[in-house]
Each structure stands twice: as C-alpha cells, then as structure tokens.
Subunit: 432 residues, 2 copies
C-alpha cells in the first residue's frame, strides 16, 4: 500500500541531536539540556485542592465538551492579569489553547502560505521554528545584538512588498534560547519599525513572570495592540502537564482563529481550565511565582559563579535577568555540536545552539538550563564543561588547525551530527 | 495594520446554522442538536478517586512535560484493548492525541496538499470536513446505501491516478450523522476495493463501543492494517472534558506523525493520561460502558417509538443499532434548514443535515440526538417535530407548489439560511 505524504513532510526530519540527547537520560549524566521547569516548584498541594473542588462542585461541567473559546472565568482572569502588565484586553479576545505551542500552530495556519516569509530572531525558539516550518515558510532571520533584533533588520526584511514577512515572531522576555531581555527603547523601536514596515508581530511570552532582578518592560502588544498577537502560558509559572496556554489577538482575527481551534481539537480540556481558574482566582500565582523567582534566581547566580570559575578564556556569556537559560559562545574553532558526544561521555548534557537558528547557524553556541539542578549539581556540571573546553582548546592549539570537533576521539559521531546539522530542515524539536 | 491571511482562510466561514442554534441554549428549547454524551453517564466518583491517586502518587510526573507519543501504560492499554476488537497493534504504533479531533488534524497535515482528493462518505462527520478543509482538499464524496459507501464509488473515485484520493475517511460504526452501521461483508468489500484502488483508509471509531443490539464487526484496520489509520476516543465512553483520543498508524507513518504532534502541542496532558490510564487499568470501562449501553439503548428505543407515533407519512428513518443519532429524511418539498427557525420557535432544536455533506447536500435530512434527553423529553420533542412537519406538509400541499421553506411565517430567516447553506464552504462546526 502506497501512502502519499503531503509535500510539507519532505522537509521534516528526525532530529540527530534529539537522538544523541537520549543519552542524557542515562544515569550519571547531569542534564542542562532540558527546557523543563523544576518539578520541585510545582504547587502540588494547591493543585490537589483545586482539583478536588472542581470534581466536587462542577464535575459534569468540567468533564463535558466545552466552549472552543475557553472557560469564561479563565479568559477574564487572563485579561485582568495582562492589564497589570500594561495590556488592555477584552476577555473576548482571549483564546485558551492547549499550551502556547498550539497557539503557534493556529497562527501558522491562519497566517502562512507555502513560501510566505516569516521574520524570526536569530537564534529563536526551536519549537516555533518546527511549528511554523510545517507551513513551508521562507525564513527571514533578523540579525540583532544583546538588546534584541535590530529594527533596521526588520525594515530590510520587509523592503520588497512581495516578500514582506507575514509576521515577525519575537520573544522579548528572557528569550529561549539566549535568555536575552529586550529593553524598553528597543521594544519601542521594533514596534515602530514593524508598523512602518507593515509587519505584524507575534509576541511569545512564556517567561515574562520569571524575572530575577526587575520586572521586564511592557509587552510589545501594549505598544501596538492592533498589530500584535500575544501568547502566554501557564507551563512555566504553574505546571506544564495541564497543557494550558492562551493567545490574545486583535478582534479582526478572532473568528478565523476560533474556527481553526475548533478544527484542531474542538476545545482545550475543561477540567484543566477550571482547575487553573480556581487556582488563579484564589491568588495562587501571586504567592507562588515569587517562590519560583527566588529558587531560579539563586540557581541562576550559582551558574554564573560556576561559569566564571570554570570556563576558559574566550568563552562569551551573560547572566540572564530571568527565564531558564544561559547562552554560551565557545572560543573560535570549537563546535558545540561536535563536542556534545564528548560532553555526554563526561556526564554532562547541553543543547548545541545550531538548531535554534533558522539559517546561518553559529556552531560555537550552546544552551544551558539552570532550573532543574541544584547549586552543587550546577557547579559540578559546569566544572565538567570547563574541563572539556580546556581540553578541546588544547587539542585545537596542539593539533595545528584541526578543529576540536574533528579530533579522532569523537570523529564518527561528530561527523554524523555535523552533516545533519548543516541541513536547515533538520531542526529538532527540543525537550521543549 | 494589515494582516494577510493564509489562502486556506478564504474558504472558512462562520456557520449560519451554528448561529441559529445558539437559540437552542435558551430556556424552553429541548435540544436534540448536540453531539454531546450525557453528563449523567459520567463516572464522576471513579474519576475523583483516580485523580486523587495520580496527584498523590505521581504528582510531579503527571504535571511535568511528558513524552509526545503519550503515556506508556495508556498506549499499552489501547493496544491490548484493540486486540479484543480484532486488531493486532504494537503499543509503539499508538499515538495519544488531544481528542481524536486532533488525530484528524495531524493526519490532514501528514497526507494533504492543497488540491489533494479526499474520499468521504456522503454525508460525513462535520468536524472532519472542517478539519480536512483547512488543508484545501478536493472532495470526492462516495455515494452509498444503508450499509455504507459503495465499493464501486471508491474504485471510481480512484480511477484516474493523478486524482486518486490521498485517503478515504470512513466511520463504519454508528456513523455521525446517520447512525449507520457498516456490515461485515461491506467492510470486506470496501477494504478490498481500497487496496485494489491504492487508497489508504482513515477509520474513525468514536462510537464502536456504544452498540445496543450486538457488537459491530471487526474494524477495517483489522482487515488492512498496513493501509489503515485507526482513530479512537475516550470522549464517548468516558468523558470528553479530559480531551483524550488516540490513533494507531502503520509503523512507516509513525516518525512524521510524531514530529507533527510535537509541532502541534508538544504532547497531550500527562495528568489526563494518567487519570485515564488508572481508570482503564482498573477495568472501569468494562463495568461502565454496559451502563451507557443500557441507558442510551433505552433512549434509542424511546425515540424510535416517538418517531413512529408522531411523524407524518413520507418521513424516512431507521433506528440506529448504536451511537447517538437518528437520521431523518423529510418528505419531498420540505427543507430541514428552512424549518429550523420554526422548530426553535416551537421549542425544539435539531441539526439540519445539509452541512454534513461535502457536496450535493440533501436538504431534506436532519439529525436528532437521543442521548442527553430522558424518555419523556424525547417524546415531547418528537411530538413537537411531528406537529411542525404536519403543518409544513399542509402548507406545502395547500400552497400549491410553494415550498415549505418559503412560507411567509419564516421567510426571512429561512431565506438567509438557505442562501448561506448553498455554499459548500459554509460547513459549520458542530457542537461536536
């Protein structure tokens, strides 16, 4: 029997790095590769109580089919919550989604034809690249600096009207993977450039509440509400396993988004929505999120100290002001993908940076998560990384021009990974 | 700001019938329009216990990110359960989805390019038509009889190789909307024709366990496992509000389906999967589903008796052997969409049949659900329908050739509905 696959599947490939990272699940490997929040931060007792209450008070409503838009009280809470962030939102604009990942899928369906340009940060969130990739776009990567993409890059990407991006996908707060926070002035400049260039914005904000020094500036959506879709999530501030996110769209997009939501999964589970509505109504997040900030902030500090102590000269990184990740750039001649098998052998997992780039990957980059490990584990893992990099640099210099990724020790694995990493279509899905 | 929508959105329109059916939610209206299971049939106490157990024993695992494939024990249960239905399945072939509706979305992404042909029963499940419609297919409706689509219709649809359908979407068991059960010989003949014609099958089976007279024949997937994707759901046998379904695909499709699942929503909620795994492991469905059969079977009988008593001559219907729906064909000259506003005025809601057709709608058809109303409500609602139809027939005959939908009483509303129902792109999403 012959199954004919859609054309979009031709560009989808299994992730070589994902396969390698399966080794990270073996005992003895410290993983800084994940994008998972710490399960120690889950408010389990509050969830137990809310769950029991929902199944006691409104079991049949919670377990029946429900409105595609989402549970009314939850949509109202989202609108009120975003007002405190500077966004004025009508609850009718809020669409509850099955994680904010589903929001990306719905927006891809809504806005992308095959060949449509999509402007993305360089690097950007892997799961978004994979999600939008299903709709066969043309990537328009935006060069930037430590403050975010350059407004000029957005203007340039939109210069030819026919090739104008359908949207720019941006993560202003503690971006995955770089941890970068976009400053207030840059936000203004980007919102301005987007308006002038006629490019709408998708603002993805899963980490905005996880700030460790000071709250981030107001969202892009607060500056250009009619030209921005804002995506939020309960995965990082509460728990991921209920799969609850939301998007806030300009009213003109609402009806089509709702039809796409119906077609995709009818609606997001009513039980999960009611449990979370119960928790947030009761003010849980106001009590809970500060504990996450304290926990993750301390771990961020531990990783910064460990990196300062262990890394060889020539490594570039900055401590993030929030979120979950450090972004590290290795010295010249080192390749993070090529080094990964050796890191795993030494008992450390990280995610190479290459797959986070829609194009023109910087092979010297890698991402380290600090949220699931304690300070001692962080120190131990970073020390392992430091030794590995010192050794690789010695080999680089001693081997007279041969690159670290090609040293005999890991030659086969590295060659395989490199060959596949070179293909843009290889973008793996991260953990997430 | 200018939002450019994807081309696929142009064919999507809000449902006029859905708008009209909002009136069904008003007090005093008996709704036979829904596709919802009865909330009285939810095993609430068992769900309470399973939920408490999951949040007590494995809270952090249940609330963390989880595998995109689904929860291992649940996949194993699905495989074992399907074996009892005649299907031999490796748990590795099972992909847990956010309701079986999401399975349809993933399969549309996997198999459909714009312009691909899709063979569908005529009529078929509205939510599938809407879901596949997002991928801009060309419909190949299969004519059939009370036993299902004609195998010759499938052969004919695949006659030209270039226009061969990417798949045939079939609901063999107590189909939504017609309630039709496909017989054993017809299943063989269709599986044979599909193989000969080179057309894979998507077998959607949400109602297979809800049989009231005798269990249905073995699934199509048991006859052609390499050429069939089978979709199942916990929505009708357990509860819809946890949004749990699954699909079983030939191994060759697994990796791409998994990547599409990751891109769509990363994974289905682990909490919901663990609660359901807990329930089914404990044998709940073996105890619970027979109570649903008894309840719904009695309601099916009540509706059959009421229809026999109340309907005017010239109406055609058969009592379904399972599922949730009666399918009614009105006498010549009557239009179910045109009559709907009058039915709502009289206190009864149903779903006109027209939107269930991908093409060439039969305007005389309508769907009645018997699962959410008790016997007295069923008798009352069907009596209302009977009076309405008697009156419409009298008007039809008295008004000498003018059609019931055009009688002055409901002229405006009916004209609006008719005009919009004429467009194939108007396919509304049902309740589901």
């Amino acid at each position: 029997m012959e199954w004919t696959l859609a054309r979009r599947c031709a560009a989808m490939n299994a992730s070589a790095i994902r396969e390698i990272l399966k080794l990270a699940e073996q005992p003895g490997v410290l993983s800084m590769a994940g994008g998972l929040p710490s399960p120690h931060g889950f408010p389990v007792e509050a969830l137990r109580e809310a769950s029991a209450k929902v199944l006691r008070d409104t079991p049949r409503e919670a377990l029946q089919y429900a409105a595609s838009e989402g549970h009314g009280p939850l949509r109202e809470w989202v609108a009120a919550h975003l007002e405190s962030r500077g966004l004025r939102v009508d609850p009718a604009q809020v669409l509850v989604t099955s994680g904010s990942q589903q929001g990306l899928d719905l927006l891809g369906k809504l806005l992308l034809d095959a060949g449509s340009a999509v402007a993305v940060e360089s690097p950007s969130y892997l799961g978004a690249l994979q999600c939008f990739g299903v709709f066969e776009p043309r990537w328009a990567p935006l060069e930037g600096d430590e403050d975010g993409p350059h407004p000029d890059a957005l203007r340039e990407a939109a210069r030819e009207r026919a090739a104008r991006p359908r949207f720019a996908y941006l993560l202003p707060n503690f971006q995955n993977p770089t941890g970068r926070l976009m400053g207030d002035a840059r936000r203004d400049a980007l919102a301005e450039a987007a308006l002038a260039a006629g490019v709408p914005l998708l603002e993805d904000d899963p980490y905005g509440e996880l700030w460790y020094d000071a709250p981030p500036p107001a969202p892009l959506a607060a500056r250009r509400p009619e030209a921005t879709v804002y995506l939020g999530s309960f995965s990082k501030v509460l728990v991921p396993g209920l799969r609850l996110g939301y998007l806030v769209a300009p009213p003109a997009l609402g009806p089509k988004l709702l039809q796409l939501k119906q077609a995709a999964d009818l609606h997001t589970g009513g039980y999960a929505q009611r449990v979370v509505a119960e928790l947030v109504r009761d003010g849980l997040l106001e009590r809970h999120v500060p504990t996450l900030r304290a926990r993750y902030g301390a771990q961020r500090d531990a990783m910064a100290a460990a990196l300062r102590a262990a890394l060889p000269p020539g490594c570039a990184w900055r401590a993030p002001q929030g979120g979950m990740f450090f972004w590290l750039r290795l010295p010249e001649g080192l390749d993070a993908t090529a080094l990964l098998p050796r890191a795993l052998q030494a008992g450390l997992a990280y995610v190479p940076g290459a797959p986070f780039y829609a194009a023109r990957a910087d092979a010297r980059t890698l991402r380290l998560s600090f949220v699931t490990l304690d300070a001692a584990q962080i120190a131990h893992g970073v020390a392992t990384l430091g030794r590995l990099l010192h050794a690789a640099l010695a080999e680089r210099d001693g081997l007279d021009g041969r690159r670290a990724g090609e040293v005999p020790m890991a030659a086969d694995a590295a060659a395989t990974v490199n060959a596949r990493a070179a293909s843009r279509s290889m973008l793996p899905q991260e953990a997430p």
